[in-house]
């Protein structure tokens, strides 16, 4: 045993040459795809007739020459690398915290240049419209006066922050960091499933996945002109800096809830990559509406805070008084313009699942443009007609609580038991305004290594959008994978994993 205790464990194998095309391996028939099922969902790698889509040709020919043992070894090397770096996720259940590796799959998901161009344009359009919307509802309320969206939806939202009314934000940018969830429907079209406008996470996994996928398939990677994503921390830094244009020497900090937070690795990662301070609430104090960190040499002023804690916990004087994570007085310093906070407070009102249904209308209203990326068809249970339709079709719909995220408070109709559906119907009738429903969309599938072969698993796509003085989207994304066969739930808190996303430059 002790001999093994110090063995080397990160072995990504030998040279990786792109093989000449041989006899094509067919999904569902030949190894390594013998158990690869093509279903109703759009498959990223194979066309319905089982031929390989052109962007996946190089990867396919590499996979056909790698033994399963070799793939398995590389998969383990990926996992070891994550473990050594401390890329772990803490799952809380029964008051116990366990440190787990984020499951990662070494096979990359490929996005073509044309697909990306559309995604980029669509997300840019969307983030601009959403920021105009936030400026509007915290300002004149034109959109409400014009009756584009019901007042009750805004003022009744638990994420609406009255304290933000009339408060100007730099460049009118409320949402500076956004991670939108896209899915690809049966027709192969990318549609927006969710806008995460509060404190989206996952960007560090995008970068960590790139690191291991590139090591697992170096030659395939080189041969494909994959666009780089390593500049993300730099772009994030520029975005944060653009919020405080007044000083030469802007002092920036990432505010984390602390080491017990499930995304702590990411907070530390971003601070390190940007070369800025990582702070906790207890490191900060506010005096005379100026925010300081406590350093060994005395107090040091902070100008911009990239906060990774929710609105509710930011300032116990204004929001939740029991919050030990935040900083008393922070909001007043913000109001006084002495510190910039990204994202601004109160952005959650715009990623509410009910407001989501109105985003296409908001794009038309503010930009006089047609949405480039569509929404998933959404039933607002607050509307009587929609509610009865939802109740009658619970077995085919996905029902979500409007204020929740992370896959909580959700019913996946086709996968739920009769009892679960009846239980949920009760909740729906009791509080219809709190729910929306969407058809069960067959998220597209992508090749995923499962130990004894390569199988199709459902995936989504989370690109990360930066919006300060300008809008920047690094050409890459976190592809989340539902690792359980047939499952449509990709959330890492519920057994999902992730994989690298290769955006091609041509």
């Amino acid at each position: 045993m002790q001999q093994e205790a110090f063995a080397s464990t990160e072995d990504f194998g030998g040279p990786d040459l792109v093989a000449a095309p041989g006899k094509p391996a067919r999904p569902g028939q030949d190894p390594p795809y013998a158990r690869y099922e093509l279903g109703a969902a759009y498959d990223e790698m194979f066309a319905p007739d089982g031929t390989v889509r052109p962007p996946y040709a190089a990867l396919d020919s590499r996979l056909s020459t790698l033994s399963l043992e070799e793939l398995s070894r590389r998969q383990q090397a990926c996992e070891q690398s994550f473990l050594h770096q401390g890329i772990t996720f803490t799952v809380y259940s029964d008051n116990r915290a366990t440190e787990r590796i984020i499951p990662t799959d070494l096979l990359p998901r490929i996005v073509t240049a044309a697909e990306w161009a559309r995604i980029e344009a669509g997300l840019t359009q969307r983030i601009i419209a959403l920021n105009l919307f936030l400026r509007d509802i915290y300002g004149d309320g034109r959109v409400l006066k014009d009756g584009v969206i019901p007042r009750a939806l805004i003022f009744g939202s638990k994420h609406y922050r009255r304290e933000m009314r009339g408060l100007p934000v730099p460049h009118g940018a409320y949402v500076n960091i956004c991670g939108s969830d896209l899915i690809r429907n049966e027709k192969g079209e990318f549609v927006v499933l969710e806008d995460n406008l509060r404190v989206p996470s996952g960007v560090s996994y995008m970068l960590a996945n790139r690191d291991v996928a590139r090591r697992a398939f170096p030659a395939v990677f080189r041969s494909m002109n994959v666009r780089p994503i390593e500049q993300y921390p730099l772009e994030l830094l520029a975005t944060l800096r653009s919020l405080a244009p007044f000083h030469e020497d802007v002092s920036i900090a990432v505010l984390t809830p602390g080491v017990f937070n499930s995304a702590y690795f990411e907070h530390a990662f971003l601070a390190r990559q940007m070369g800025v301070e990582l702070v906790e609430g207890r490191d900060l104090l506010v005096n005379d509406n100026v925010v300081y960190t406590r350093t060994t040499s005395g107090l040091k002023r902070i100008d911009v805070i990239y906060r990774r804690i929710d609105d509710d916990f930011v300032d116990p004087l204004i929001f939740r008084p029991d919050s030990a994570l935040g900083v008393p007085g922070l909001f007043n310093a913000y109001r006084a313009g002495n510190v910039m906070i990204a994202n601004a407070l109160g952005t959650g009102v715009a990623d509410d699942k009910a407001v989501y249904a109105y985003v296409p209308r908001l794009i038309r209203y503010y930009l006089s443009e047609e949405p480039i990326l569509n929404n998933v068809e959404t039933y607002l249970c607050r509307e009587e007609k929609a509610l009865s339709h939802v109740l009658a079709n619970l077995d085919t719909l996905v029902v979500k609580a409007v204020g929740e995220s992370g896959g909580y408070g959700m019913l996946v109709g086709p996968h739920a038991s009769r009892a679960e559906r009846e239980d949920f119907a009760g909740k729906l009738k009791a509080d219809p305004e709190n729910y929306i429903a969407q058809p069960t969309i067959q998220l597209s599938t992508a090749p995923t290594f499962v130990g004894n072969g390569i199988e199709a698993r459902h995936v989504d796509l989370r690109p990360f959008i930066l919006h300060g003085a300008e809008t920047k989207i690094v050409p890459g994304a976190l592809t989340r994978v539902a690792l359980t066969r047939g499952s449509l739930v990709v959330n890492s808190s519920q057994g999902g994993g992730s994989k690298d996303t290769w955006v091609l430059s041509q």
Partner: protein
């Protein structure tokens, strides 16, 4: 540097030093026990337990297996090797942005590799080997830290933690051995003095300085006052003094003065100490008690000056 970060770096280094010391003492003890009579070995184990945990055990009360398991792998024991490593890692995790990737990964890997090891799996072969290997990894970690981390304020907080801990660890080993020397029944024998040197990686450096003639007085002189040997108290006090001079460069002068005064006093005690004055009537015990007390004062003043100071005092 954030006060909280300084705090974590300081403790991370203290725990690493403690883990390294525990691994070394266990390796040396397990390697040397085969050459001792059961009685001598039991007396020696009792001294090891007291030096590492402060607990006075009855000689012969516990066997080597039980003691090693407790000192190495007992997670409920605050001084065990795995506890020290876990604490070092927890502290490091909280200041990842202040460490190089290499330092974090080295420490994390070491912890992950040692963490599942059990006594049963090592006892059947050569139990000392695991501790030797862990020790090598910790030496490597020291080198990785030295060569990949900027030698700025953070590095000096690590230095401070390492050496303030080392002074106390070496001090406790010396203390238990010299107190036992006054006991006619269990007085350390020639072999025990040699093992004491090995506990402190001092055997070869000692022989180079004093030849292979093992004499308790020379051992005390070497481990207390040698200015060049990295595991002597004098050496560590020098490093502490230098580190104290380099941390918190922008702190108010009054605060810095409080720390520097204490550091200067400790350095004087070690620089001008004479072994001849200590060799009678519990002189070493009194000297070590004084050094320990001074270290505690330095620790307290370090915290009150740079880490836990009231914000109202600087506004």
């Amino acid at each position: 540097m954030l006060s909280r970060v300084a705090d974590s770096l300081y403790w991370m280094a203290r725990y690493i030093e403690r883990a390294e010391h525990t691994a070394r003492v266990l390796a040396v003890k397990l390697e040397s026990m085969v050459e001792q009579t059961p009685d001598d070995s039991a007396a020696s184990w009792a001294r090891v337990v007291e030096a590492l945990t402060g607990e006075k055990t009855l000689i012969g009360h516990q066997d080597a297996f039980v003691i090693t398991r407790r000192l190495a792998f007992d997670r409920d024991h605050e001084a065990s090797l795995v506890t020290s490593l876990a604490m070092a890692r927890d502290n490091a995790r909280q200041v990842r942005e202040a460490l190089s990737n290499e330092v974090w990964e080295h420490l994390n890997r070491l912890y992950l590799r040692l963490s599942p090891v059990t006594m049963d799996s090592i006892w059947v072969h050569t139990p000392a080997r695991l501790f030797r290997e862990a020790l090598e990894e910790m030496h490597a970690l020291e080198g990785v830290t030295y060569s990949t981390l900027s030698h700025g304020e953070g590095w000096y907080f690590l230095e401070l933690g390492r050496h303030i801990e080392r002074v106390q660890l070496i001090g406790r080993l010396l203390d238990v051995h010299f107190r036992a020397a006054a006991d006619p029944v269990h007085a350390p024998k020639y072999f025990d003095w040699l093992v004491l040197l090995k506990f402190c990686t001092a055997w070869e450096p000692y022989t180079k300085r004093y030849t292979a003639s093992i004499r308790p007085q020379k051992i005390a002189e070497f481990l207390l006052f040698d200015a060049e040997f990295p595991h002597s108290i004098c050496f560590s006090v020098d490093r502490m003094t230098e580190a104290l001079d380099r941390v918190a460069p922008g702190a108010p002068p009054a605060r810095r003065a409080a720390v520097e005064r204490l550091a200067g006093r400790l350095k004087a005690a070690v620089d001008f100490g004479q072994i001849d004055d200590l060799m009678t009537g519990g002189g070493i015990a009194a000297f070590l008690a004084d050094i320990t007390k001074q270290c505690e004062q330095i620790h307290k003043t370090l915290y009150s000056s740079y880490i836990t100071y009231g914000a109202e005092t600087v506004l």
